[in-house]
């Protein structure tokens, strides 16, 4: 995105609203808010052109805390409302904040269709695998067998996998990061900000009240390097504290291999986020803890015309062909007759 020449220099604090932040102490949302506020001055957009739209849930309080335009809407509908904002004014920089319940349960339909239309929205999915606001029921990303207030005998629902779903809808940008890895999150958010079309970011977020340590494997310093694979475009997929393990393709199935012992980095899968075919990105989305290290970073980033570009393109083309609409000509279209 080309920053306007006279863009005022702002600080993260300029993106803090005067509202008191009301998440539970220790909630992962605080870190996400801080990182978003941190990168806002760097994305090259005037503050008045930024809009945050959210649905319902803990995460959806987010717009109140941003000193930008904000819309705290209704459950699940944030992508649909944000689509309307973008259609009304494609110049706006529109961010959607949603959660696993809001975005994937009640609003799953809108999320899928927004992604497949490639509407120019940055969608941040705060995934804590639980319903926080309603006090602890299982969510669509909760694991099978999960015991919660509404599943005392364990959940019998198979979880939905947000990145797999997004790729199924042919998302043009999809990434994953985690609440406590602040530098990584900032990097991912900036990449999302630059993307034209839908940018979908899954953020592993700790709900320390109802689902604490759900992502410990990816946040505990002592173990995370063994359980997380940082994706780098063009690079072989190597992970582990000693960078001694990698991902190799065996037929069409990925496998974890140890480097050395006849396996060199050249034998490993190399990440290609720009691959037109989403197959590799999908395969990565299927790599899940504990069988695999979970990929972090940008899974897929491809160029494709955004919905609003196509829409405005049609309007420009129609106007070029037919001229700007003339009201009287429109009224008098078709068979007319005079009465004297």
């Amino acid at each position: 995105m080309n920053a306007p020449a006279d863009l005022p220099t702002l600080q993260p604090k300029d993106f803090k609203s005067d509202q008191e932040v009301r998440w539970c102490p220790g909630c992962g949302d605080y870190s996400i808010l801080a990182q978003v506020q941190k990168i806002m001055p760097e994305i090259g957009v005037r503050r008045e052109n930024i809009v945050f739209v959210s649905g319902i849930g803990c995460s959806s309080r987010f717009p109140y805390y941003m000193n930008t335009y904000g819309f705290h809407s209704i459950h699940g509908r944030a992508p649909a409302i944000a689509t309307g904002v973008k259609i009304g004014n494609p110049e706006l920089d529109v961010w959607v904040v949603t959660g696993d319940g809001d975005g994937l349960s009640i609003g799953g339909n809108h999320l899928i269709h927004t992604i497949r239309r490639n509407v120019g929205l940055k969608i941040l999915l705060f995934d804590n695998r639980i319903y926080g606001l309603t006090k602890g029921q299982y969510s669509p990303t909760s694991e099978l067998g999960k015991k919660t207030k509404s599943t005392p005998f364990g959940s019998i629902d198979h979880p939905i996998h947000p990145i797999s779903v997004a790729i199924g809808a042919e998302v043009t940008f999809v990434a994953r990061t985690v609440d406590v890895d602040v530098k990584h999150m900032q990097g991912v958010l900036k990449r999302a900000a630059e993307h034209k079309g839908t940018a979908f970011v899954q953020i592993y977020q700790d709900c320390n009240v109802y689902n604490h340590k759900a992502f410990e494997f990816a946040t505990d310093r002592s173990v995370k390097d063994e359980h997380v694979l940082y994706l780098e475009h063009g690079k072989p997929m190597i992970f582990g504290k000693n960078r001694d393990k990698g991902i190799r393709l065996n037929g069409t199935t990925p496998e974890v291999v140890e480097l050395g012992k006849g396996v060199s980095p050249d034998d490993l899968l190399h990440h290609d986020e720009k691959c037109a075919e989403p197959t590799l990105a999908y395969l990565l989305s299927r790599m899940r803890h504990p069988d695999f290290p979970e990929p972090m970073g940008v899974f897929r980033c491809v160029e494709s015309p955004s919905y609003e570009d196509l829409l405005m393109g049609q309007i420009r083309a129609a106007t070029a062909k037919l001229g700007p609409g003339d009201m009287d000509a429109l009224f008098n279209d078709g068979d007319t007759w005079n009465v004297d």
Binding site: S17, Q19, R46, R47, E48, N49, I50, V51, V53, I56, P63, Y64, N67, Y69, G70, F71, H72, S73, I74, R77, A80, I81, A82, T83, G84, V85, K86, I87, G88, N89, E91, L92, N109, H110, I112, H113, L311, Q314, I315, A317, A318, T319, K321, L322, G323, P324, G325, M327, D328, L330, F331, N332, D333, G334, D335, T336, W337, N338, V339, D340
Partner: protein, 621 residues
């Protein structure tokens, strides 16, 4: 329905009888092209200078088995030499293309009426499909009508031979043959339809030729066959001077929306999901991209309205249209628009309900849904169109309210208005009053929920420097718009939102009364029943009865003088195509002893139904 005027003449050895008006219905299988024949007959009559009123009748299924009652499609036109308001109660002429369509429609033909049947289709098999045990052409059951058995299929196929089209295409021209015959019967010119055929099939000259041959053959058959002793003429109507076109309610709605956006200097964003009978608004608007009309076909009704809310927030004229079941899905979003006080329009093209109900049939049973159908105290203005062309003015009026009062506005039309048509006196765009829009811009004084004298909050659109603020569905603190759970604040805000909607009463002119200001019976109606009720009232007065009529377009708020009017009559008769929704609102609001005339048959009122009810109320014969 037809009324003959004195006089007549002879032409080509056939006498021509002048009528004041006539109602004609084309019926056939849904594959027979009856809608097209009806539309062409309407356009010709309109261009000829008659007043017209139409009623298309679609089958519920897209492709019901051919030849069955379920597959019958019809189109009724009332055309006249004076101002008319309805498509007519009974018809003077029925053109039935097969047994099923005869069976489904013959009950609406006047005694002594003209019945043209396509005798070729009265085969054993087709009679069985229509569940006729005897052939009605032979069993004497049609003896009250003037029956003309015309071999339409065979004659069409013969006539179009020289165009060189295949057998199937040849047979398909039979609607034009029937149309040609009826054009002859009512002394109409062919040129409007011939022009249409040439335009429509410019890329398929052989089809154009076949249809042209068919229509001419039908016309000539009337002229030469010994069958028809008289033909009829309905002269031009004395409409107000001006330029006219024929328009359906959905077309008028679409045109009105484009006009409203232009008058307000706004982009029109139309978020919708396909639904009968509202989809034609989308079709019409999606052609108008050079008017900066941005149509959005969402994944569902909910998303369609969510996008409307987002577009309203972004500063556009944001509109959705749907029908009852779709509106039900949108209501959560409508509540959000009420809470965030964002201007937008919700058009409900009502159809028979509940649930999926009768998708292709008309009804007025969504009045409560519009006024009451949301959670919480959630008032908004409601306005109802009264005729197809009136949809144009109704959506413009709704837009004025939406912007001035920062509120979603419900617009009610119905299937009858949406698909029915009438002549529209074309206005000059420059003669229509502009729509004022105010946007907040001063950061020093801006407060998201600081109200103006009308009770409206400011509209501050994203992109305006210094006005960054947050809105949402949680209760707002007065003035600042911050989230507030304060008990007194909530009570106050509910009151402020209600007062704002109530203030719209200042936009509404005093309710006009058709007839004297007081008397024995006040007919009250609203929306698409205008024509039938108005005509019934006028006929009752012509018979010396003290009957007046009030037709409402402003359903919330009501006009200021309505309460006083209803108490000036001995009887108040509320006529609605529902089980008494306005009736209950009037009783509740004005404590008036009103009674209802209610009908939910998926069809408009007939004038005589209202007349009978007036007589009953008056205890008269």
């Amino acid at each position: 329905m037809s009324t003959a005027t004195a006089g007549g003449q002879k032409r080509n050895g056939k006498s021509v009888r002048e009528l004041d008006s006539a109602a004609v219905r084309f019926v056939g299988d849904s594959g027979d092209g009856m809608q097209l024949a009806g539309t062409q007959f309407t356009n010709t009559s309109a261009v000829f200078g008659n007043d017209v009123s139409t009623l298309p009748d679609f089958p519920a299924e897209i492709r019901a088995p051919a030849g069955t009652i379920a597959g019958v499609s019809g189109f009724q036109i009332n055309f006249s030499n004076h101002d008319i308001h309805t498509p007519g109660d009974k018809v003077d002429a029925l053109i039935a293309m097969n047994p099923a369509s005869l069976k489904a429609n013959v009950g609406d033909l006047e005694d002594g009426g003209i019945l043209v049947v396509n005798v070729d289709e009265f085969t054993k098999q087709n009679l069985a499909k229509a569940k006729y045990t005897n052939n009605p052409l032979e069993d004497g059951s049609l003896k009250n009508f003037r029956v003309f058995e015309v071999p339409i299929t065979r004659q069409t196929v013969d006539a179009v031979k020289q165009a060189g089209v295949g057998a199937k295409d040849a047979e398909r021209c039979k609607n034009f043959y029937a149309l040609g015959l009826i054009f002859w019967l009512y002394d109409r010119p062919l040129d409007v339809t011939l022009r249409w055929i040439n335009d429509k099939f410019s890329k398929k000259p052989e089809i154009a030729a076949a249809n042209t041959l068919a229509i001419q053959a039908g016309f000539n058959f009337g002229e030469t066959a010994e069958m028809f002793p008289v033909r009829y003429r309905v002269n031009r109507a004395k409409l107000d001077p001006g330029k006219y076109r024929n328009i359906t309610g959905n077309q008028a709605t679409a045109l009105g929306l484009i006009t409203a956006a232009r008058l307000a200097g706004k982009t029109l964003v139309y978020g919708t999901y396909p639904i009968t009978p509202a989809s034609d608004i989308l079709h019409e608007l999606s052609m108008r991209k050079n008017f900066d009309v941005r149509t959005y076909q969402a994944e569902d009704e909910i998303a369609a309205f969510a996008a409307v809310v987002g577009a309203a927030y972004s500063g556009a004229l944001a509109v959705t249209a749907s029908s009852g079941p779709g509106i039900a899905l949108k209501q959560e979003g409508v509540g959000l628009a009420v809470m965030t006080e964002l201007p937008c329009l919700i058009v409900n093209v009502q159809r028979g309900g509940p649930s999926t109900g009768l998708p292709t049939k008309t009804e007025q049973a969504d009045l409560w849904q519009a006024i009451l159908g949301r959670n919480g105290e959630c008032p908004l203005p409601v306005i109802a169109a009264q005729s197809p062309a009136d949809c144009f003015w109704t959506v413009i009026e709704a837009t004025r309210w939406a912007f001035k009062y920062m509120t979603p506005v419900f617009v009610l039309t119905d299937g009858f208005l949406a698909n029915g048509s009438e002549p529209w006196r074309i206005p000059a765009y420059a003669s229509i009053e502009k729509i004022t829009v105010r946007h907040a811009s001063d950061a020093a004084t801006f407060q998201p929920y600081l109200r103006d004298k009308n009770g409206a909050r400011p509209w501050a659109v994203p992109g305006t420097p210094g006005l960054e603020h947050r809105v949402g569905g949680l209760e707002k603190a007065d003035v600042t718009g911050n989230v507030s759970y304060d008990a007194d604040n909530h009570h106050k805000m509910v009151g402020l939102r209600a007062q704002k909607v109530a203030n719209i009463v200042h936009e509404i002119p005093p309710q006009p009364i058709d007839g004297p200001d007081s008397g024995d019976v006040l007919l009250v109606s609203w929306g698409g029943t205008y024509g039938a009720v108005r005509t019934a009232g006028q006929r009752a007065r012509a018979k010396g009865r003290k009957v007046s009529h009030v037709h409402l377009r402003h359903m919330n708020p009501f006009p200021a003088n309505l309460g006083e009017i209803v108490h000036r009559f001995k009887h108040v008769l509320v006529c609605e195509l529902n089980m008494g929704q306005l009736l209950l609102l009037l009783r509740g609001r004005y404590a008036v002893e009103a009674v209802g005339l209610n009908k939910v048959q998926g069809r408009p009122f007939m004038i005589r139904e209202i007349t009978a009810k007036i007589d009953e109320v008056l205890g008269a014969k």
